[in-house]
């Protein structure tokens, strides 16, 4: 048609008819180049691409730079910026109150591995259906650059201070303690992180993702093992992470000899193409061994280390009614007058 009408192209939408815009949050106040911002972007992409209704998500965090980031994505979801290191307990309570929600927890390495290590290990034991992301930069940013407990032995601060204590490996801990989806990624590795986040959304149980996320202000210099440069030089993927969501055609060929195909709870498929010998993502012992060996070599192993789709989640274990406990009407939560009388009679 030879007309001059300008047609606006239809904005791209997901399977719910929502745009990426509907998954955005407030403007970030973190430093330019902070790894955390890249992670927020991937979270937005993953939720958008998976077609998760924003109102069905709860965002929870502790205290620190990382824990501020839930303000920078998914404004249409309820969010709770709680207490330093204690987000796991708040998330546990919130999920018990409403088990039908998708819960996303964002923590940092100080929040998780020091002040919150007690709650972290018990969260892993319970296999609470929570996606737990550690935005791991090895330092306390908000208090201006002290080492955290995930800083590697020998890593150097800007001030020249050398870390003389061994790092806590959150992935090894999580695997040992019962988390059912454990992986490590790098904020600079868009493709891998996005695939892992999408698989995390499809999983029912605790997902523990340790995402190395360099702190451009306090820990991105020569001598740091959590810098962009160090990661670019030392990242060693255990597998290539592929993901086919349940609502897409899965007729894509893969070689069963070299690729693990894991059917997720919602019917999606996680496809892990082996890059390492003797790699088996359903065996904890090999997973922990691979992590420890990589550490010995001075390499940072990434990818999905361990997946177990059979173990019941904490909310399943408690055998709760189908509806959220928070929304049960009085008729179902207050026993009858007759029951009180029966109890009273027994006490007479």
């Amino acid at each position: 048609m030879a007309t001059s009408t300008v047609t606006k192209p239809n904005p791209k939408v997901n399977r719910l008819g929502l745009q990426v815009l509907d998954y955005r949050g407030g403007k970030t106040t973190l430093c330019a180049g902070c790894g955390h911002n890249a992670i927020s972007e991937r979270i937005i992409d993953a939720l958008y691409e998976m077609g998760v209704q924003p109102e069905r998500v709860m965002k929870l965090s502790g205290i620190g730079c990382s824990s501020k980031s839930p303000a920078y994505f998914l404004s249409r979801a309820h969010s709770f910026n709680s207490v330093h290191g204690r987000m796991p307990s708040v998330a546990t309570g919130a999920l018990l109150g409403n088990k039908t929600m998708k819960a996303l927890g964002v923590s940092g390495d100080g929040d998780t591995a020091s002040i919150g290590v007690g709650q972290f290990v018990h969260l892993m034991r319970r296999n609470l259906p929570l996606i737990y992301i550690i935005e791991d930069n090895g330092v306390y940013g908000l208090t201006k650059g002290q080492f955290s407990a995930t800083a590697d032995l020998g890593s150097k601060l800007k001030t020249g201070v050398i870390n003389d204590l061994p790092a806590i490996d959150t992935c090894t801990l999580a695997i040992q303690l019962g988390a059912t989806f454990v992986g490590r990624s790098f904020s600079g590795d868009k493709k891998q992180l996005l695939a892992m986040l999408k698989a995390a959304i499809a999983h029912e149980g605790t997902v523990m993702l340790d995402v190395i996320s360099p702190c451009v202000t306090f820990n991105d210099h020569e001598g740091s093992t959590k810098s962009y440069k160090y990661m670019q030089e030392h990242e060693d993927a255990i597998s290539e992470v592929g993901f086919v969501p349940h609502f897409e055609d899965i007729a894509i060929d893969y070689d069963p000899g070299s690729t693990y195909d894991v059917t997720m709870h919602d019917g999606s498929h996680l496809r892990l193409r082996k890059l390492h010998e003797n790699y088996n993502p359903t065996d904890r012992v090999t997973a922990v061994k691979a992590l420890m060996e990589a550490h010995e070599r001075g390499e940072v192993l990434t990818g999905v280390f361990y997946v177990d789709t059979a173990k019941p989640s904490f909310t399943q274990l408690l055998n709760l009614v189908d509806e959220p406990l928070a929304l049960l009407p009085q008729e179902r939560t207050r026993p009858s007058k007759q029951i009180l009388q029966e109890i009273m009679a027994k006490l007479q």
Partner: protein, 626 residues
Amino acid sequence: MATGDVALGNAGVAAAQPAPGTNDDVSGASRKPVINDFSIQVATVNGSGSQSANNVLLRAIFGMGIPVSGKNLFPSNIAGLPTWYTIRASKHGYIARKKEIDILVAMNAETAKDDILSLPAGAVAIYEDSLDLKQYRNDVVCYPIPFDKLTATVCPEAKLRKLVKNMVYVGVLAKLISLDMKAVETALRRQFAKKQKASDLNWAAVEAGYHYASESLTKHDPFVLERMHATDGKIIIDGNAAAALGAMFAGVTVVTWYPITPSSSLVEQLIDYLKKYRVEPDGKATFAVVQAEDELAAIGMVLGAGWAGARSMTATSGPGISLMAEFAGLGYFAELPGVIFDIQRVGPSTGLPTRTAQADLLSIAYLSHGDTKHVMLLPGSVKECFEFAQAAFDLTEQLQTPVFVLSDLDLGMNNWMSEPFEYPEKPLNRGKVLSAEDLTRMNGFARYKDVDGDAIPYRTLPGTDHPQASYFTRGSGHNEKALYTERPDDYQNLMERLNRKFETARMLVPKPVIVQTGKSKIGLIAFGTSDFAIMESRDQLKKEYGVEVDYLRVRAFPFTSDVHDFVASHDHVYIVEQNRDGQMLSLLKLDLPAEDAVKLRSVRHFNGLPIDARSVTDALVLQEEI
């Protein structure tokens, strides 16, 4: 005393000096019978199964229609340390601890000498005859009993004898104080309802004691029981079970806890009730219980669940409250509901954690960082444990702030007689929660805006299906729309609104109970388990000194205006409490106008034992110079 203060820290257990006198002085012939008005103390070793025997005694006296109370004084230990159980029968219905012991059953060789030395003249001692306690007191009526021999005759199995032996003293006592054997058997069969063999064995032990006493003892003391009808229709329950029932009938859905004496039995009994009455026909639960890794996690879970809209609670004691401090502050600032039961006890975990106190008042009132203050409910009976548990859940959701219920070990772990509990007729008050439809009608909302003028804002729950439902929960830095702010005016407005909300709380919490003569210029203020001792002390003051005192029992913090009026209308007001520092006194001084604050005087009881009437009466007489 110049300060006008009397502290009763060492009252209660001091060994009395044996009074001069002869055996003739204590013989029954010269003394008037004492009917339905005495105390029995059983001294045993913990882990010896004496609890069953003591429950049977308590229940049997109750079964005879006589008002009765029982108190367990136990050590922080599993087996082998001294334990005392005190039973008081009172025709007047006094159920506070009686300071003096009238009948001692000394089953613990290790403490037997101290136990008999602490008796007042004229008391009774029952003991294993080999202990030869008579040598220490000639002014006490002694009944040596061959417990071991009697036990052996009914219990061939040597390893069970330690447990069965306690039932022998039940039989001996039954004979001596005319305890109805029918009532004893009913109580015993109830105690061992599910264990026929144990039931029979224990009953044989009771009978052995009874027969021995019938054949071999001559009564030389005045203490006897007579049937009454004062317990008809009443129940016996401990405060923790009562609070658990209250929580269940309040519709609690999320329960978190970390075991700590004396609160554990609250949650354990709640779990039993919930499993029985809150599982649906398909086997699924309308509740979740989590044993947390510590008290920090327990309260974190409570607040997370409250935020998500569930009725959530935890139960703890002093050290747990200390650990909950940080979250309590967040709960206050972020306006989160959640109920915290504090079953108070003596402070740190080593020493006297199994003894009672009312000493967490100040720490809870202002628990946490920054300007915080919390709503506290102060139940004074098992019935109020039931009722205030329900009130707490309504208040916490209405006010959107953590609510603390302060019971204590005496109330929580001891058995109390009570009227049966009444079924709650009022529907649950779930507070100001907006639905998706509300949001459409209102075109969104501001989470922290005072819309109604009561300083209580509206909230939405996660999962509300509306694009404007969400908000961001954080601590101090938020404006009315829950957006991040560090502006001075936003912060000040928030703090002032929270203060106004506390004023709203003042009008919603349970009002005090006031007993006023209209003539007295002396007032008493107490709270919690001190109530029973105060009621009795008022009678003592009237009967023995001709002095009438008015009484106000505080049932909540913040204080209602009735408390101000009460102080204003009296010349002297004694604050009676079970702690060293006069914590209620301090809270009142902060709340009252200066001209009224100077009227306050203090009576404090803090030896780990439940407060008794005599201690209150003596302190008041001394300070008032009656």
